[in-house]
């Protein structure tokens, strides 16, 4: 069974700690017991510094004014391509659709063989076998949404079974959704346990925890949910399902980048962030890379630690890449639709 993962960075990054990390000595003392029970978890999450929305939005706006030109832009485009989780999450998905998506993931621009492949494809669990068969050995990872995506509104047993379908079929990455209802009702322990349980079900697959920030509604909640997911062992925290608006805005991503940076400061371990939904242009993607660089740090400029969850973004990146290389603007008919 394939457990394709994206290329690892040259310098080995410590593998993220598991859901049981809270009980392991690897965590610093002040984090070890915060998830011991509902009360201490609540106390911890509510003790996190608040987020001033205007401040974080203005910081994001300032980052968006960085002027990325020439070689720096071309490098950013390639980096962004290598971070894309090329996604299709439709009821109309078919094996044929998945095969073309996989082909695009391996060779995003057949006219430019030096174009990097994307990080992974992101698909529903029943489509994983198709992707496995087409992507084996390509270096392109297979990510699958699970846990009754996108709402998660079913029993834990069903969500675990959903996860098992994906993992057993060979998905190397699982994108789970949190129970936003439980989170908003303040039942943090429930959300925590869900994530820990799914993490266990993932086995060796990396777990991306979708916060669905558009339903959390405040930056304070985004920060708390980020920490909750990190404490529970999520390898990535991910903004959105893509089914709810707003999805990945730059300030939301900024708050999540602060969370993984702070996690690293306190534990010495790096976790990833996935900005998913709403990022459609190269300009948006580069702004996110600037935020990654200046908020989390340059070490996060790596597909192992940062992803874009997107479908249409890839073609814009490819067109901009051609523009950079060819010196004139490209058009949609010069890149493949899928």
């Amino acid at each position: 069974m394939s457990t394709a993962t994206p290329p690892r960075p040259a310098a080995p990054v410590p593998f993220p700690d598991s859901g049981q990390a809270a009980a392991e000595p690897a965590l610093p003392a002040h984090l070890r017991d915060v998830a011991a029970d509902e009360t201490s978890l609540r106390r911890f999450l509510h003790s996190l510094p608040g987020v001033d929305p205007v401040g974080v939005e203005q910081r994001s706006a300032a980052l968006a004014t960085r002027s990325i030109k020439k070689a720096s832009k071309l490098a950013a485009i390639d980096l962004a391509i290598s971070m894309v989780d090329l996604t299709t999450l439709e009821g109309s998905d078919t094996p044929g659709k998945i095969r073309t998506l996989a082909a695009k993931a391996r060779r995003p621009d057949p006219d430019s063989p030096d174009t990097p492949h994307v990080a992974a494809v992101c698909i529903y669990p029943d489509m994983v076998p198709v992707a496995v068969s087409t992507l084996a050995g390509s270096g392109v990872g297979i990510a699958s949404v699970a846990t009754a995506f996108p709402t998660g509104r079913t029993s834990l047993a069903v969500r675990l079974a959903d996860t098992a379908v994906a993992v057993d079929a060979g998905a190397g990455e699982i994108d789970m959704v949190i129970d936003r209802g439980a989170f908003l009702a303040g039942r943090y322990g429930k959300v925590f346990e869900d994530i820990v349980t799914v993490k266990q079900a993932c086995g060796g697959a990396r777990l991306k925890v979708i916060l669905e920030t558009g339903e959390l509604a405040t930056y304070d909640n985004v920060r708390r949910a980020s920490w909750l997911a990190l404490l529970a062992g999520g390898d990535f925290i991910k903004t959105s399902t893509g089914k709810i608006s707003p999805a990945a805005t730059l300030p939301v991503t900024a708050v999540m980048l602060q969370a993984v940076r702070d996690w690293h400061d306190q534990t010495g371990k790096r976790r990833g962030v996935k900005a998913a939904g709403g990022i459609r242009t190269t300009k948006d993607a580069i702004r996110h890379l600037v935020a990654v660089r200046e908020i989390a740090g340059p070490q996060w400029l790596d597909p192992f630690l940062f992803r874009f969850g997107a479908s249409s973004l890839l073609n814009d990146l490819l067109m901009q890449r051609r523009t950079q290389l060819q010196g004139h603007y490209s058009g949609p008919d010069y890149v493949t639709v899928d």
Binding site: G50, D52, V54, I68, L216, T218, V222, L301
Partner: protein, 885 residues
């Protein structure tokens, strides 16, 4: 299977390529001329070269002015004021301002480049802050031009005339806009001098102004160094001075203008505290700290140069701060990705180095950002000192560079004490998620701008300006307009003054005063002449009284104490030291009954300080007399330097409680004083002389107290504002008391003048040390007895008796006095006191009118109010980007 992997993405090494703005966009010329009388002209001074501080290369040659050019420019401004600008309609003025605003917007990219080349600030700041905000000031004030009657300064507030404006080099175009736009909107013309090292952007503005067809001479721009600035502000042809720059130069300006009556606005230095509580939104606080001290290389008067961080989060904040500062990119200011540009001049760089050296020497721990420092140009890397204590120079002196001093505190009280422990008071920052603490801190901080959970926000709709030695006057908002309008609504109306109707001779002197062009002076003469005529038994001859009055009129200024007493009401005492004969009061029935037939006990009146009645520290007294036969009635304490000190101490002690008392409570206290005065009405009438005039004076005093008692809970509504600033912020401006005020009560109207001085000062929460009418102190010292038994907290009002010329200088020099009311001082004394006041930049007020019988305007209250603007972000209801980003 081999991976089809091709190129390796850049990864952690990815960085930003240089993205320089093109210098050609600035269209710099080889040589720039001054702009005077609608023409670009050569000054008579030597040409100078303006240098690009990032490269140390000359950018352009600039013609400069001599004193003769100042004359020419002022004359041009005067001619434009009288010939055109004061005659065209307000709506026309507004449209001119709108044209200038549009012109700035259209040439914004060019102006940004010019500003960055000449000043050294990063292009992203000149592009995103300086130039747009400069245009915004013209847009904002364009709208005021035809709405001045709604600004709260009367139905038809008049301009002042010609404004002389001298500005700093840190925001060359922006400050020019702050100065020019309100001046023109209010109907003034201007002569303005930019900073010596940054003349270029304002000379581009001159082109925009010329292109806007602004009438010649309405705006005149002269260039040069400090000597030209001094020549301008001291020029006899100007009516208003506005200055942005250092506190030391501000001091010199206030001193040199002492006695001129010229309206001054000073926007000076600062040493702002940026206070971070442990419940702050830490990440945004770190941004605010960075923005607060590294914006514009720290060349910002309101920079948050002192970080006060709560000890419980100090380590965390310091770590995050250093990590964040390390991401700041220092270098070519023209690069769009540069965060920190060049220090403006070699001189400033030397100042920064010298001051930071004292930080090392005094034991603070220096941390320097690991950023690359260019090998040429004037650069200073972002620097943070920790382990700083309040006594170090880097915690007290304005460095005006990218240098942050970090201090810690444990409790909010300690934070307030440390934040306010500076002679400056321009701005402050507060970071906490707790709303009640934000408002509490905003109220407790003695600073003109308080940014809560944000920093360095500017908007033309929000007043900006300092407390204490950060200067006085405001720029922006409704209160900013008053700097360029005649807002003294104490001035008598054009109608005939109210005079004593009992004497047919009453109106005669006024009618025979054709030369008294100043309405106030004319009025004073009328009253005094009347009284002298009416008091037929006075030892003074009528001729002498009229002569004094004439002298007053001729001088077109206000009489000094002696002139008033001699010319005015009958003297009722003998200054024992002068040996002059005692003069009798007119006899009144009440006094006759009380005094005849027995020997009165000689009464000794002491000072009234801190609610007690101490003798003078000097032990001296002087004699005040009264009664129908002129017999000595009382000894009065002769106040001294130490009494002034004690009184200021008492007033300072009382300030905290009185200023924090609710408006309702202050009102009740003052109403109660009015009630008590009412109860002792007859006694006060007798003390004053028992005549109908005296009864009217007592009644008016009571009315005055009632009037001001009712103001306490209206002040914030009338003088405050909600500020419609751009961006997701709520901003409001609110009036606050200035602090401790020292006042000299007028010699005339010893009760009404005193009450008219005291009441508007204390109604807003100030405390006061007042020197009673020297020659007629009995009403004042008796009022002290009333106050002592009233609900007025001890120390809110302190009354000294004695010679103003002896006591007042100590008050004017006392560093803990914030403002002076010199209404009762003679002209010479007033000039000396104003000069003394400049030492600590005290606000100085003199009521134009000493006609206390008129219903007062608001000028006397406004003179002792500071306008504080508070900002706070709004939002947090959605992630949809409420801020519009």
């Amino acid at each position: 299977m081999t991976s089809p992997r091709r190129t390796a993405p850049a990864g952690p090494d990815w960085d930003y390529a240089p993205a320089p703005e093109s210098a050609a966009t600035g269209r710099l010329r080889d040589r720039y001329q001054m702009y005077v009388g609608g023409h670009f002209v050569d000054g008579r001074g030597d040409d100078v070269k303006s240098v690009n501080p990032a490269t140390e290369e000359a950018l352009a040659t600039v013609s400069t002015a001599t004193a003769a050019d100042v004359d020419t420019a002022v004359a041009a401004a005067r001619a434009a004021y009288e010939g055109v600008w004061s005659r065209i309609s307000a709506a026309e003025r507004g449209k001119y301002l709108y044209r200038i605003a549009r012109g700035i917007a259209e040439r914004s990219r060019e102006l940004a480049v010019v500003e960055t080349l000449d000043n050294g600030k990063p292009i992203k700041e000149s592009r995103d802050v300086d130039i747009p905000t400069a245009a915004a000031h013209f847009f904002y004030h364009a709208g005021w031009a035809d709405k001045l009657e709604h600004a709260g300064y009367g139905a038809a507030p008049a301009p002042l005339g010609v404004a002389g404006q001298v500005i700093a080099w840190n925001f060359p175009l922006l400050i020019a806009a702050w100065k020019i736009a309100p001046a023109l909107a209010a109907g003034n013309t201007v002569v303005i001098k930019p900073g010596e090292t940054t003349p270029l952007s304002i000379l581009v503005l001159a082109e925009i102004i010329a292109d806007a067809d602004l009438p010649a001479g309405v705006v005149n721009i002269i260039t040069g160094a400090g000597d030209i600035g001094a020549a301008l502000v001291n020029h006899p042809g100007i009516d208003k001075v506005a200055f942005t720059g250092s506190t030391d130069v501000g001091r010199q300006i206030q001193a040199s203008l002492a006695g001129t009556g010229r309206k001054i606005t000073l926007e000076l230095g600062g040493k702002a505290a940026n206070i971070v509580f442990d419940d702050a939104p830490i990440d945004q606080a770190v941004e605010g700290i960075v923005n607060g001290i590294f914006f514009n290389q720290g060349h910002v008067c309101c920079a948050g140069s002192r970080l006060l961080v709560q000890e419980s989060v100090a380590d965390e904040v310091n770590e995050k701060l250093r990590a964040r500062i390390a991401t700041l990119r220092m270098g070519d200011p023209m690069d769009k990705n540069t965060d920190i540009g060049a220090i403006n001049s070699a001189t400033q760089l030397a100042t920064i180095r010298a001051l930071t050296d004292t930080g090392d020497a005094e034991g603070a721990v220096r941390w320097t950002s690991p950023c690359q420092v260019p090998d040429r140009g004037f650069f200073f890397p972002p620097t943070v000192f920790t382990g700083v204590s309040q006594s170090m120079r880097i915690a007290r002196d304005e460095i005006f560079g990218p240098v942050l001093s970090v201090l810690t505190f444990r409790t909010p009280d300690e934070a307030i004490a440390k934040a306010n422990n500076t002679p400056y008071g321009l701005s402050a920052g507060v970071w906490t998620e707790k709303g009640s603490r934000i408002l509490g801190m905003a109220s407790a901080l003695r600073a003109g701008v308080v940014w809560a959970n944000t920093f360095n926000r500017f908007d033309p709709a929000a007043a900006f300006g300092g407390y204490k030695e950060s200067g006085f006057g405001r720029e922006g908002g409704r209160s900013g307009l008053s700097a360029y309008l005649n807002t003294d609504d104490d001035a008598p109306s054009a109608g005939p003054p109210q005079t004593t109707p009992t004497s047919p001779a009453a109106t005669q002197p006024a009618a025979t005063q054709p030369a008294a062009t100043h309405p106030a002076a004319a009025h004073l003469v009328a009253v005094d002449g009347t009284s002298a005529l009416a008091a037929g038994a006075d030892a003074l001859s009528d001729a002498q009284a009229l002569s004094d009055a004439q002298a007053l009129s001729d001088a077109q200024t206000f009489t000094d104490a002696t002139a008033f007493i001699d010319a005015g009401h009958t003297a009722e005492f003998l200054p024992a030291e002068t040996g002059q004969p005692v003069r009798a009061l007119p006899q009144t029935p009440a006094q006759s009954a009380a005094e005849h037939g027995r020997l009165a006990v000689t009464k000794t009146y002491k000072l009234y300080i801190g609610g007690a009645f101490p003798r003078s520290e000097s032990g001296r007294t002087y004699q005040a007399s009264g009664g129908p036969d002129g017999s000595i009635l009382a000894n009065v304490a002769k106040g001294s330097r130490k009494d002034a000190r004690d009184a200021v101490g008492a007033a300072r002690k009382a300030f905290k409680g009185w200023s924090a008392a609710t408006a309702y409570n202050r009102g009740q206290v003052i109403y109660r004083i009015a009630e008590m005065l009412e109860g002792r009405r007859a006694q006060f009438v007798d003390l004053l002389g028992g005549r109908a005039d005296d009864a009217r004076a007592v009644d008016a005093s009571i009315d005055r107290l009632v009037h001001y008692a009712g103001w306490t809970d209206k002040l914030a509504s009338v003088f405050g504002s909600a500020n419609p600033v751009s961006g997701p912020f709520f901003s409001f401006s609110t009036p606050e008391p200035t602090g401790v005020v020292a006042a000299i009560a007028p010699q005339r109207d010893p009760l009404l003048g005193l009450v008219s001085a005291l009441a508007p000062i204390i109604t807003s929460g100030n405390t006061v040390v007042v020197i009673a009418a020297q020659h007629r102190p009995l009403a004042a010292v008796t009022l002290a007895e009333v106050l002592a038994t009233s609900d007025l907290p001890a120390g809110v009002v302190n009354i000294l008796t004695g010679d103003p010329a002896e006591i007042a200088p100590h008050l004017a020099l006392h560093a803990d006095v914030n403002a002076l009311d010199l209404t009762g001082a003679g002209a010479d004394l007033r000039t000396d006191l104003e000069r003394a006041a400049a030492g600590t930049l005290k606000r100085v007020h003199t009521s134009v009118s000493q006609d206390f019988t008129r219903t007062p305007g608001t000028a006397r209250m406004r003179a002792f109010l500071e306008i504080k603007s508070v900002w706070h972000p709004t939002g947090d209801v959605s992630l949809a980007g409420g801020a519009g980003y």
